[in-house]
Symmetry: C2
Subunit: 220 residues, 2 copies
Amino acid sequence: MRDTQHPYVPRDLYLEDYVPVSLSQSIILVVYGASSLLHVSIIWFLSGRSPKITKVDRLLMCWWAFTGLTHMILEGYFVFSPEFYKEKMGFYLAEVWKEYSKGDSRYAARDAAIVAVEGITAVVEGPACILVLYAIATRKSYSYILQFAISLGQLYGTAVYFITSYLEGDNFSTNSLYYYEYYIGANASWVVIPMIVAIHCWRKICGAFEASSPKKTKIR
Amino acid sequence: MRDTQHPYVPRDLYLEDYVPVSLSQSIILVVYGASSLLHVSIIWFLSGRSPKITKVDRLLMCWWAFTGLTHMILEGYFVFSPEFYKEKMGFYLAEVWKEYSKGDSRYAARDAAIVAVEGITAVVEGPACILVLYAIATRKSYSYILQFAISLGQLYGTAVYFITSYLEGDNFSTNSLYYYEYYIGANASWVVIPMIVAIHCWRKICGAFEASSPKKTKIR
């Protein structure tokens, strides 16, 4: 008989040598929250030393630092660790994905669409987020278009993430608590914030065209 | 015994009531080529009547008309016709996808990642391509950012398309001829052209920022 001693749904998902999650949900969240807060605080403090950087840009830098590190470290670990669920030593990043898989077992099952989206996110978008920090701080002309590009990538990735799950029956959560807390809740930020950032950048870019050639270019 | 009287790979793919393709490859290609050429010619002719539209913009309008109609009609039909392989009347759009599935059987098999990407392409990107025609013709300030957004969406979609196939073993073609002709060949345009368009728009947008605030914004 196949071993299905894991907490994930669908129940017939076969995970050989699965090792249960050893850290509690609160410890996982506190470590993620505290380390994110630390990095965001450093960015907020450092960016505040330049009077040329506006408060909106400082807030954006905090977002890009947070999302960039999440993409590279958290999602990067997932992409290159197909056997994270076998991890025995309680390694934090493996624990995160063992826990998150309760909200979406396609992570443990290594669904191709998930790995593709996470791969693009970790390898392309992650480093690009860090480049944005430099672009905002040094007022590069490509700052808004780069932020727009990453935001659009995040929105496209989240769309593929939700649509594929819907098409496959939307039955990958251990229970409705994990469904709303992890699958919906944890991903909501990557729908709402990229949308706000994309609209902000769209307006700035249209504004630049209107300012650069007021007679040639019509206003929206 | 299960009926596997279809030409697709993997051979154990089960397609109930499959009806073989009735149009020849050359007829399918000629109809697609001729109708595309017709639309592109109309756009080239009409856009030429405005002396304000540059040759580059006229070429771009031809591309957007071609890709927009492909997204909405060809890909739109696929998205909303899960049973196209059962079509008995030789309906052209069904024939296209029966034929194309020889290069990638995930279309006939209705793979979730394919449907998600094609859905976003047909429903969001398709109409946006037609909006670009209007934006270029009327010199809207959002013209470049819209073209950039769609190009990036096309690139993201193609990336998910190829990466998911690779992750699942890259074994969805009837033979290597269809692999290179359909799977690689037909999709190559949607890698190369969106990349060129995206770079073109990126430069235009950076240029607008440099022109609008030459002292504030640093050159790349």
